[in-house]
Amino acid sequence: MSKKAPAAAASLLRLVVPAGKATPSPPIGPALGQRGVKSMDFCKQFNDRTKNVEPGTPLPVIITVKGDRTFTFVTKSPPTSFFLKRAAGIEKGATSIGKEHPFVGKVSLKQVYEIAKIKQSDDGMGHLSLKGICSGVVGSARSMGIEVVP
C-alpha cells in the first residue's frame, strides 16, 4: 500500500439554487470555481436531480468539496419563507413588523401543518417533534409580518 496523503479538509458550500436552472455565473460559478469544481458538472447533476421539481423553486444545496476536487451535494426542501409567501399569496415579506405595523398576509394553521410536514423530511429536523417544527414555522411567519390564524 502506498503512503496515504494526509486527508485534505473537505469544504462545505451552502447555496440556494433555483430548481432546474443552474450555471449563472454570479451565484454559482465563482463560488464553485474558487474550490476548483467545474460548475458545469454541478449544474448538470443538480438539474438532473431536480427535474421533478417546479422550475425556479429555490432549493438550498449543501455541497461538500473534497481535497481532490470531487464533490457531493445534498438538496434540501425549499426555505420556509418561500412556502409562507406562497401560502399567504404575497410577493415579499413585511419591511417592518411590530405592534404599530399591520400584517402583510395571513396563513392558516392547516397550511402551517402541511409546511411542517414538508420540512420534517429534511436531515436536520430528525430530532424535532412535528409540534416543534410547527412552532418554528409560526415564528418565521411572525418575523415576516404574516398573521397565523386557526
Binding site: 425549499p78 412556502f83 406562497r86 401560502a87 392547516k110 397550511q111
Partner: protein, 122 residues
C-alpha cells in the same frame, strides 16, 4: 441564601449590593409531562378553522406533477396544533412557574428593569 459584597459604582459611590440566590422548587410534578388523572378535563375547545375541509391549501406544492394538499376536517388535526396561536394557552405557559417560558419572560422583564435603572443613572 444571602450574599453581600461591597462595590464601587461608576460614579465612585461605594454601595453594598445584596444578592439573594433564588431557589426554584422543582416538584415531582415537573417531571410528569402528562396531565394528572385527577385534574379537571380541559373544556372542549370549539375550533373553527378559516380553511374549510376539502379546499386546496394553496402554494404548498412544489413538484411538477403534484397537487396542493387538501385541508382535512378540523378534528382530524392534532390537538396541539390549535394551541400554538391560542392566546390563553400561551398566557398559561407564561404564568406557570414550572414552565421554561415563565422564567424566560421573568428574565426579560428583570433585564429591562435593570437597563432602565442603569440608563437613568448615566
Amino acid at each position: 441564601m444571602l450574599k453581600s459584597f461591597t462595590t464601587t459604582t461608576v460614579s465612585g459611590v461605594r454601595t453594598t449590593l445584596v444578592q439573594q440566590t433564588r431557589w426554584i422548587q422543582v416538584s415531582a410534578r415537573a417531571f410528569n409531562v402528562k396531565e394528572d388523572a385527577g385534574a379537571a378535563p380541559k373544556a372542549k375547545r370549539t375550533v373553527v378553522s378559516s380553511v374549510p375541509e376539502g379546499s386546496a391549501l394553496k402554494g404548498l406544492n412544489y413538484m411538477k406533477d403534484g397537487k396542493d394538499p387538501l385541508a382535512l376536517a378540523d378534528s382530524a388535526y392534532p390537538e396541539w396544533l390549535w394551541d400554538i396561536v391560542d392566546p390563553e394557552v400561551r398566557a398559561a405557559r407564561v404564568a406557570d412557574p414550572l414552565d421554561k417560558k415563565h422564567h424566560k419572560e421573568a428574565r426579560r422583564q428583570r433585564i429591562k428593569a435593570e437597563n432602565f435603572i442603569r440608563d437613568k443613572k448615566t
